[in-house]
């Protein structure tokens, strides 16, 4: 195995060497960084040309200059990686160092959302194959495949940001919207759950009425201007989470798991006010992580307490439920910050921004304001990226699950008399995840380089912006740095995917074939 990894790494470095050599020369011969200066009438032009030639070593021909560049990269092994200098005589490394976190912030949440949403919908469509929901989702995913992201972005800016901000000035939902949304959610849910005609109508009625009541309530209380959940609603949602997670994780007949998940909800309720105090007085990322760790710890203890035998699944259920309940608690805190945040001069009651990554006018210092500011700036890009990329996950998880459901071991599992939940979640879903995992890994790497357009549309300053700048100003070192990072990530992700595949699927042996 170790030998295999080393052999692969060797091949990878050769590949990276080759492709960087090709790209370096391709980029170097196709443009002259001094072109603008040569035709310039500036009396200092000559001096500038000399200076630029010196910083960028332009007197060395490109194939040789490549090796000078490579020397800087190879110095990375000693801890002093050197990507050379940009045209402005600044270190490329520092430009990259600020750009990479921005891009990751942009891409990370979108990828997670796309994966969770895509796989969920994909599995539902596979379980309801050939239903109307399946056909509708197939159409939607093809539509998403065919959307140019810059086009979607403009639509989102107009309809989600500007119109929503207008709506917040007077947050009354018009009757026609309430009706439309209620009918739509009724149709969607009845299509997902499905059953005979009577049941479909029942589900439709319940969901539509429920949605209508909820929206009316939100509208009457101007909830969108002053959102918040409060301990009671948080508890209600937590109980819902407890049931949902238990159903998916172990099945409701496992009383120990259900009790421990419910216990997590009760603990969250008891700790609601202490948590608020902590949020108010010691707000920082350290606190959030400490609470995450505490949640897992509590889940462990609770799981041990309730389960006499078969403790693993119980602890797992409690931990997942606790994690989700924690997210709801955090969400509640952000909602409480919403109105004060909107009222600041910097935001001025138009909270959803159309461009930029942070609001430069916002005064720093308040943890909740700055974090919420980052989050609202992420809303539009995240939705745009999610829309574009989740279609692939729908198609792929649907196809894989359908294939898995045709396997003999599924028939065996059903023949043994296992219930449908166990067959789907334990036998089918886990095997569906094997090929999906490898795709996810590769996708993550690809997105870092693939967010160029998104960054441009939403005015973020990340890798894509650097890349744009590099191309437009013939900044070879900057271009190569962007390329080197995206390319290394993609080859390493491919290696990780292969290793992961062999780890997850014992039939595949890495290193043979």
């Amino acid at each position: 195995m170790v030998a295999y990894i080393f052999r692969r790494l060797g091949i990878l470095s050769v590949i990276l060497f080759g492709s960087s050599f090709i790209l370096y020369n391709l980029a170097a011969i196709s443009g002259d960084p001094l072109e603008a200066l040569r035709t310039s009438t500036d009396p200092n032009a000559k001096q500038q040309i000399l200076a630029l030639t010196r910083t960028l070593q332009l007197d060395v021909p490109p194939p040789l200059r490549y090796f000078l560049w490579l020397k800087g990269i190879l110095a990375g092994f000693t801890g002093h990686i050197d990507f050379g200098k940009t045209r402005d005589a600044q270190l490329v490394t520092s430009a990259i160092a600020t750009a990479v976190p921005t891009t990751i912030r942009l891409v990370f949440l979108a990828t997670i959302t796309a994966i969770v949403l895509g796989i969920t919908i994909g599995i539902v469509t596979a379980l309801r194959q050939y239903s109307r929901f399946d056909y509708a989702m197939t159409f939607v995913s093809f539509l998403m495949f065919s959307l140019p992201i810059f086009w979607v972005a403009v639509l989102l800016k107009e309809f989600l940001a500007i119109q929503f901000n207008n709506f917040l000035a007077n947050p009354q939902i018009p009757i026609i919207w309430i009706t439309g949304l209620s009918v739509a959610s009724g149709v969607i849910w009845s299509a997902i759950i499905s059953g005979d005609r009577k049941r479909v109508w029942q589900i439709f009625g319940v969901v539509a009425l429920g949605t209508a009541a909820l929206l009316t309530l939100l509208s009457l209380t101007s909830w969108f201007a002053k959102p918040g959940l409060g301990p009671i609603v948080v508890f209600g949602i937590s109980i819902g989470i407890a049931y949902g997670v238990t159903q998916l994780s172990t099945g409701l007949q496992n009383k120990a798991a259900l009790r421990s998940a419910q216990a997590m909800a009760v603990i969250a309720l008891v700790l609601y006010y202490p948590n608020q105090w902590l949020f108010d007085h010691h707000a920082n990322w350290l606190l959030i992580f400490a609470q995450l760790a505490a949640t897992i710890g509590i889940a462990f203890v609770v799981g041990l307490k309730f389960a006499k035998i078969d403790r693993g699944p119980t602890i797992r259920t409690a931990a997942i439920a606790g994690f989700l309940i924690g997210i709801i608690t955090l969400l509640d805190r952000f909602m409480q910050t919403w109105n004060p945040y909107m009222s600041t001069d910097a935001v001025n009651f138009r909270p959803i921004p159309t461009t930029g990554q942070v609001n430069p006018l916002l005064e720093p210092g308040n943890f909740w304001f700055t974090t919420l500011d980052i989050l609202v700036h992420m809303i539009l890009p995240t939705i745009a990226l999610t829309l574009i990329s989740f279609a692939g996950y729908i198609r792929y998880s649907r196809g894989t699950l359908l294939e898995v459901l045709n396997q003999d071991y599924i028939r065996t599992a059903r023949a043994k008399g296992l219930n449908e939940r166990t067959v789907i979640m334990r036998h089918a879903f886990r095997n569906t995840m094997i090929p999906l995992t490898t795709i996810m890994v590769v996708d993550f790497a690809g997105l870092i380089g693939g967010a160029i357009i998104t960054e441009r549309v939403f005015g973020w300053i990340g890798m894509g912006t650097l890349f744009n700048k590099a191309i437009n100003s013939f900044d070879l070192n900057l271009l190569m740095a962007v390329f080197f990072i995206t390319a290394s990530l993609s080859v390493i992700a491919n290696l990780v995917a292969d290793l992961l595949y062999s780890a997850l699927d014992p039939r595949i042996r890495a290193g043979k074939g």
Binding site: G18, S19, F145, S146, P148, G450, N468, N472
Partner: protein, 358 residues
């Protein structure tokens, strides 16, 4: 739950019956005929095929075309270089060049059904936007086909050679493929597009095609690796067939499904790549027109003159969506495991046939 289980049991007992229905349907047909039948039955794909063929005819016949020394006149009365005056009649307060296209009949208070002078409106300097969108769509469709053909040919050849000969040829070709794969498509496209974009859209498409074959070549290689071990290849070899004959006459026809499906997906990706590059300013450049370029030029006027933004986008989506659906239909048609849903009608007709036989 219980209900679900019984329905499963039912399906298993009916398996034999279903097989009989399928066998009956494909009796005496060649592989090609079966594939064609399946494709024709795919409603989405057939609709998309009609749409895309209609669209291509519509778009390419709209404007004057220069083919060599000949000039074929188009049916639309404006070209991309004409500069008619900006009209303001019928527009909202303070706007000029709004679309004259109207679907609302006169008795409902509209302008009556008709195209009018400028159905898609006019751009900043008064050029007819319908003509511009047509030109842009021509460019996009052309780029799509050029990339599809070049990428498809290269990918098939490289994958076929690599999978058939194996050994060091395979190793070298696949490492070369890895070279190209490591460079993200948009980066290659930008570098290439930035420097060759001004040479015209044909060149741009050609160079993009040179980098677009990697995924296909891997697929074809995989297909060749399995097919070359099959008995019919051994039989051909024993009969004294040359390598070339085995590749082209025996293996390639069996791999054609994978290739066609993959090329359609390549094409739908290509149209998005072209529009994205033009949007970034690295693709088709200013005097020429492309759908991506139009969107990029007029995205800021969305709130005031939304038609400048809607029409190019709708054309991109229509083209890409149709190609994607055709690809899906082809995949279903070529997939031997793919089965159509058995309807009640099929069961009944099978029963009547059985009864008539008995």
């Amino acid at each position: 739950m219980a209900k679900k289980n019984t329905s499963d049991v039912e399906t298993t007992t009916q398996d034999g019956g279903e097989n009989a229905i399928f066998n009956k349907e494909t009796e005496g047909l060649s592989q090609g005929q079966i594939v064609l039948r399946r494709f024709v039955r795919h409603r989405g794909a057939m609709t998309s095929l009609f749409i895309i063929v209609g669209l291509i005819l519509f778009v390419f016949s709209a404007l004057d075309q220069k083919i060599g020394p000949f000039k074929v006149p188009g049916w639309w009365h404006y070209g991309t270089e004409d500069l008619p005056e900006l009209r303001s009649e019928g527009c909202k307060e303070g706007l000029v060049g709004c679309p004259t296209f109207s679907l609302r009949p006169k008795f409902l208070g509209g302008a009556g059904f008709g195209l009018g002078e400028h159905p898609f409106g006019q751009d900043d300097i008064g050029r007819d936007y319908f003509a511009l969108v047509m030109r842009g769509a021509q460019r996009s469709i052309m780029v799509m086909f050029v990339i599809g053909i070049i990428g498809g040919t290269l990918g098939t050849i490289i994958g076929a050679i690599s999978g058939f000969y194996r050994g060091w040829i395979d190793a070298v070709l696949m490492r070369f493929t890895d070279f190209i794969i490591t460079i993200p498509a948009i980066i290659i496209g930008s570098v290439v597009g930035y420097h060759f974009g001004n040479l015209g859209v044909g060149f741009l498409a050609f160079y993009l095609g040179l980098f677009a074959w990697t995924g296909l070549s891997r697929l074809v290689r995989g297909e060749f690796l399995t097919l070359r071990e099959r008995e019919f290849v051994d039989a051909a070899r024993v009969a004294g067939a040359s390598n070339r004959r085995i590749i082209f006459k025996h293996i390639l026809p069996n791999a054609v499904g994978v290739i066609i499906v993959s090329v359609t997906l390549l094409m739908s990706g290509a149209i998005l790549l072209e529009t994205a590059l033009s949007y970034l300013g690295f693709g088709v450049v200013a005097p020429d027109v492309s759908l991506g370029l139009l969107i990029s030029q007029y995205q800021d006027s969305f709130t005031t003159r939304p038609w400048l933004f809607w029409y190019p986008g709708l054309f991109i989506i229509t083209i890409a969506l149709s190609i994607n659906f055709i690809g899906d239909g082809l995949r279903d048609a070529f997939d031997p495991r793919q089965r159509r849903r058995i309807t009640k009608k099929d069961r009944e007709s099978a029963k009547t046939v059985k009864k008539a036989g008995a």
